[in-house]
């Protein structure tokens, strides 16, 4: 007779902690261009391998290689670089502004700029993103004014959200950007509902949902997947696997699953892993999924493999839970550097032009910041009127809120 084992709880741990030398040797980086590109009407069953491999286009020499290499015009490619540089510059300015006490909080997308910028470039006007708080690149790429983003971050007198939301919880319906909640995962299933509505209404617009690796553990992830599987709405479901959920490494949410993308397979939803630091690869996979949705083949699950190079937010210090140099050792590199190398290899960009563009962008961001600060900061004001605090709870102000506003004397 076998003896019963005395149990011990398995708690996954990352490979490296502070003080350790970063080690990504277990992370298998496939060569760019090696993964096949199936037809968009493919069954999930026939592309199971794409949920485990990584679509990569830009190789180490900056060449776009393989079947996923997108057919970007010079203008589109340069805009991609410029959008990513704008996001990074904006993040840098807002981070400093927060440190200076001009606002309460900020969240950068450092190292993840390619994902949102390349993805947005694959959407059409009228499509709708249901983002998390780290996809500011969607807004920048869609042409939303960065000055208005700053107005929101400062909760100043020009804040489009009237000071009601924490910094970075933007809302911009006209720029394909659903209101950010801050409750994790809730937007993933709403996105599926929006896409179902598009189908019910006989529309041609598609929706894109966003969720982090950590939040895939939320039950709303499952809700979104089961509704997307059942009703086959025109939707792209994006998991941004940036390795870290605040201090928790991705193994805590992933459990025994080989990849986050593989979770799509049980639902019969085609799932693709893509190099999230490769603008060209993200754009190609987004285009593929968008075409699939537009042709009525339903949902696609995309896992963007990346690394959160900065802290979770201005309230976080990663030195307490991961090696300080881990970001620099991330094997998929930096998205801006890789895009720059591609453009140079393509012969449409130079180091000089890059330096010049950097200076231009920094100066534009600084000018926007000055304009935004002329409308106030959280610290110094002016702020939106407190009278508006009672508005928009309901369409019309009900009697009890009128009484409470009178009580507040505003």
């Amino acid at each position: 007779m076998t003896r019963n084992k005395v149990f011990q709880l398995h708690v996954p741990e990352p490979q490296c902690r502070p003080g350790d030398t970063p080690d990504f040797s277990a992370f298998d980086v496939p060569k760019a261009g090696e993964v096949d590109r199936p037809a968009v009407d493919v069954d999930a069953e026939d592309i199971r391998h794409l949920a485990y491999e990584i679509v990569r286009v830009t190789d180490d020499e900056g060449e776009a290689v393989g079947p996923w290499a997108p057919d970007l015009t010079e203008e589109e490619a340069l805009k991609g670089l410029r959008d990513m540089m704008t996001v990074r510059s904006l993040d840098a300015r807002m981070l400093i502004a927060q440190r200076q006490g001009k606002t309460s909080f900020y969240m950068q997308s450092l190292g993840e700029e390619a994902i949102s910028c390349a993805f947005q470039a694959a959407l059409s006007p009228g499509d709708m993103n249901f983002p998390t708080y780290r996809q500011q690149g969607l807004l920048v790429t869609a042409g939303y004014p960065i000055e208005d983003m700053m107005n929101q971050v400062y909760s100043n007198s020009a804040d489009p959200l009237e000071g009601r939301q924490m910094p970075v919880m933007y809302s911009a319906k006209d720029n394909s950007y659903f209101s950010i909640s801050g409750n994790l995962g809730t937007q993933f299933v709403q996105c599926v509902g929006w896409a179902m509505a598009s189908a019910i209404a006989g529309d041609t617009k598609i929706a894109a949902g966003w969720i982090g690796d950590g939040a895939t553990a939320e039950s709303d992830f499952h809700s979104a997947m089961v509704f997307a599987s059942t009703f086959r709405p025109p939707v792209i479901l994006n998991i941004v696997n940036n390795q870290w959920a605040i201090s928790t490494f991705q193994g805590i949410a992933r459990g025994k699953a080989a990849t986050f993308a593989s979770r799509g397979l049980g639902f019969g939803i085609p799932a693709i892993r893509v190099d999230g630091n490769d603008f060209l690869a993200v754009h190609a996979v987004a285009k593929w999924a968008a075409e699939r949705a537009h042709l009525g083949h339903g949902a696609t699950l995309i896992e963007h493999v990346t690394y959160r190079a900065g802290p979770h937010s201005t309230s976080d210090d990663p030195a307490g839970y991961r090696p300080k140099t881990e970001a620099a050792d991330w094997p998929l590199g930096d998205p801006i550097k890789r895009m720059k190398a591609y453009l140079i290899a393509r012969g449409i960009w130079t180091e000089e032009r890059h330096a010049q563009a950097q200076a231009e962008i920094d100066s534009e961001v600084l000018a926007a910041q000055k304009r935004a600060e002329s409308r106030g900061t959280l610290h110094d004001g002016p702020h939106p009127s407190s009278k508006g605090m009672f508005d928009d709870v309901f369409e019309e102000l009900p009697a009890h809120l009128i009484r409470q506003r009178q009580e507040a004397g505003i």
Binding site: L161, R164, M169, A172, T186, G193, S198, I200, A207, F394
Partner: protein, 338 residues
């Protein structure tokens, strides 16, 4: 004019709303082909097609979460949660999402959706088919909470809820679906066909949210109730002979405070009746409002008659249920107070 049960009135409200506005869509567990376990959506899929009325997976967060997305798109979903007891997985979507979308986006996005759910006990449903969670909704800024007590109101309030541009929780007292149950569980139930509020006009009409109805005028004590308890209160008044004024709140958010305070100013006494558990129940809010606004008119302490602070028991249902005997005792108590 036709006599209808509350089920038929609710089904008719769906029908009227769907025929007037193609943006109205109806879905939930078992609501499509079968027409709902209580049959409130019977025939809608056959009449309006599968695009506008369909079954969903058993996933309340998914039902409400997709409804929020659809409402943000521009549709007007009216969804069913099979029992109010099952709404908890959807609570995050209601509290953090539907209720706050207009506010947090400064009106950029809105969530005009209606979430229907059968509520209350009296059908031997035990602790998982009997709850009255209205206070959990009333506590949330941004949600409207409606509880009809009869077929006429059910139709008019449901149409008004679907047409409302804010999220509405529509709680249907399941013990009232087939008749005006007054708490006498051992007596035969009068069907709605014999009740004047079973008269339901054809076509479109609304009953506005936030307007209470005085079901019985009276001089001596104000009884605040909604849903099933309206009929229990009327029975208690009848049986005690106390000249009670029975107010049917119809919606608790928005609340018709004026009708309440005018009545208590006149009667000087107030009994509050609900089936939900007592602590932090909506009766606590009503008692606080009455105490604040009518303090100098009150001749007796405000009394609440409610469910007890226990789970809803199965075999002991009728000892738990705040029936006419308990309400009658409260009426006698406030009348004896000097």
């Amino acid at each position: 004019m036709a006599r209808m049960t509350m089920i038929e009135a609710i089904r008719d409200a769906h029908d009227v709303s769907m025929s007037r506005d193609e943006k109205v869509v109806v879905f939930g567990q078992d609501v499509g082909y079968f027409g709902g376990v209580f049959r409130c959506t019977k025939g809608l899929q056959q009449k309006y097609g599968m695009q506008r009325c369909f079954d969903t997976p058993i996933n309340e967060s998914g039902i409400v979460g997709t409804a929020v997305g659809m409402a943000a798109y521009g549709l007007r979903p009216c969804v069913e949660i099979q029992f109010a007891d099952y709404m908890y997985p959807a609570y995050d979507q209601l509290v953090s999402e539907a209720a706050r979308l207009r506010y947090r986006s400064n009106g950029d996005f809105i969530a005009p959706l209606t979430v229907r759910m059968p509520t209350g006990g009296g059908i031997f449903g035990g602790q998982t088919h009997s709850q009255s969670p209205e206070a959990l909704f009333a506590h949330v800024s941004g949600l409207k909470t409606v509880i009809p007590s009869n077929p006429y109101d059910a139709k008019g309030l449901l149409i008004a809820s679907i047409e409302d541009n804010d999220p509405v929780i529509f709680l249907e007292p399941k013990r009232l679906y087939n008749g005006p149950f007054d708490g006498h569980h051992d007596a035969a139930v009068t069907p709605w066909s014999k009740h004047e509020l079973g008269e339901v006009p054809e076509g479109h009409y609304t009953v506005p949210l936030g307007k209470a109805a005085i079901r019985r005028p009276g001089a001596d004590v104000t009884i605040l109730a909604y849903g099933t308890m309206v009929h229990v209160a009327l029975a208690a008044v009848e049986e005690t002979g106390v000249d009670g004024e029975v107010i049917d709140l119809r919606s608790i958010v928005p609340l018709d405070l004026d009708t309440i305070t005018e009545s208590v100013a006149k009667t000087g006494r107030c009994v509050i009746v609900h089936e939900a558990t007592r602590t932090c129940g909506f009766g606590a809010e009503l008692a606080a409002l009455v105490a604040h606004h009518c303090f100098y008119s009150l001749e007796a302490a405000i009394v609440r008659v409610t469910g007890y602070d226990t789970p809803y028991p199965h075999a002991q249902e009728w000892d738990y249920f705040p029936g006419p005997k308990r309400v009658g005792a409260a009426l006698t108590q406030v009348m004896e107070a000097s």
